[in-house]
């Protein structure tokens, strides 16, 4: 059985690629066979976040145009044996992807016994974003607790409900799950930032994970290591929890409350 998962958001810069890379790693660490596909044609990024940018020879569009085999284009992760990356093309125009081409690649991955195919969507609602979600079984909607991100996520939820293969064929709908990133419990406690429950209430779908705001994310991307591999970081634990929930485990949400502080600090804030 293969599950096709799109990591999407509408708005750019909310942490889609970071999330796609970390969820891919997390699933592979649990022994799953995983392929992560970069749909951001023209603006390749996933390879950098995964730290395999210098090993890209062939890309998604090469495969679709038959210029190489899928096996030649899949980059095997250096850390995890069961994790593979398919890079986006840099110089191509974004119309280089086609629905049939994407379907062929997905079918080949399914035939190759991949258990999870993670589609990293580009920002926006153009063709790349559309194709990344079109064949999805599940959508991880990445959202920051911020007005424009929440609104754009709702727009994406609308597209998931109408512009996907499942919607068009009248099959069971794409399973939608929210993943909040850049969450700052202290600012939430101060009333400066919307809480998990606020965002959940507005969008009305289940929350699969909450990732705290942390300098570790930038440090990880600087070094080309998916942040979930930085096991000393809260961010890593938060992504691990999200992966566990994706696999059906019931876990209490961590990193959503302000860290406990001393009496004086509590009295006078800070």
């Amino acid at each position: 059985m293969t599950e096709i998962i799109v990591v999407t958001s509408g708005k750019g810069g909310v942490g889609k690629t970071t999330t796609a890379a970390s969820l891919g790693c997390g699933l592979a660490r649990r022994g799953k066979r995983v392929a992560v596909l970069d749909f951001d044609i023209g603006l390749r990024n996933l390879d950098l976040i995964m730290g395999c940018e210098r090993r890209v020879v062939y890309d998604f569009v090469n495969v679709i145009h038959g210029e190489c085999t899928l096996k030649q284009a899949l980059i095997k992760d250096k850390r995890l044996d069961s994790l593979f990356v398919l890079a986006a093309s840099q110089p191509r125009d974004k119309d280089a992807l086609s629905a049939e081409g994407v379907r062929r690649v997905l079918d080949e991955l399914i035939a190759d016994h991949f258990e999870y195919i993670i589609c990293d969507s580009p920002a926006g609602i153009e063709k790349g974003a559309h194709l990344s979600m079109y064949y999805a079984d599940r959508a991880i909607v990445v959202v920051n607790p911020e007005v424009s991100s929440v609104r754009d996520s709702d727009r994406i939820l609308g597209l998931l409900a109408s512009k996907t293969a499942r919607a068009e064929k009248g099959e069971t709908r794409v399973k939608e799950q929210l993943l909040l990133t850049r969450y700052n419990p202290k600012r939430v406690a101060n009333g400066e930032m919307m809480s998990v429950s606020d965002v959940k209430e507005i969008l009305g779908i289940e929350v699969v994970g909450v990732i705290p705001e942390s300098p570790d994310v930038l440090a990880a991307s600087n070094s080309g290591t998916p942040v979930i591999m930085k096991t000393e970081s809260d961010v890593s634990h938060a992504y691990e929890d999200a992966v566990a929930r994706m696999l059906g485990e019931q876990l209490v949400m961590r990193f959503v409350d302000e860290p406990k502080r001393g009496f004086l600090a509590r009295m006078f804030g800070g």
Binding site: V150, R151, D154, A189, G191, M194, S195, E201, G270
Partner: protein, 83 residues
């Protein structure tokens, strides 16, 4: 929550964000599945009404409901009270 945080909370903008989103998301969901002409229709109807009465564009609500077999287009305009 500390004392300062308690007082700060009253100035928090998170509740404003939530309220604004609640309204705009509800409105966009209602028109989302509707035909593309709905926003234009809304604007033109509003222009006609504004020829006669000075209404606030934010008080105009347009909704499209589907009942089996037919669609119901509902337009609600709050007219300003006479003063």
């Amino acid at each position: 929550m500390g004392l300062l945080a308690f007082f700060r909370r009253n100035n928090g903008t998170a509740t404003v964000a939530k309220e604004r989103l609640r309204i705009i998301v509800a409105q966009e969901r209602l028109t989302r599945d509707g035909p593309d002409y709905l926003p234009l229709l809304r604007r033109e109807i509003l222009e006609v009404i504004r020829k006669y009465v000075n209404v606030d564009p934010e008080t105009v609500q347009i909704t499209l409901e589907r009942e089996d077999g037919h669609e119901l287009l509902e337009l609600t305009v709050a007219l300003p009270g006479r003063s």
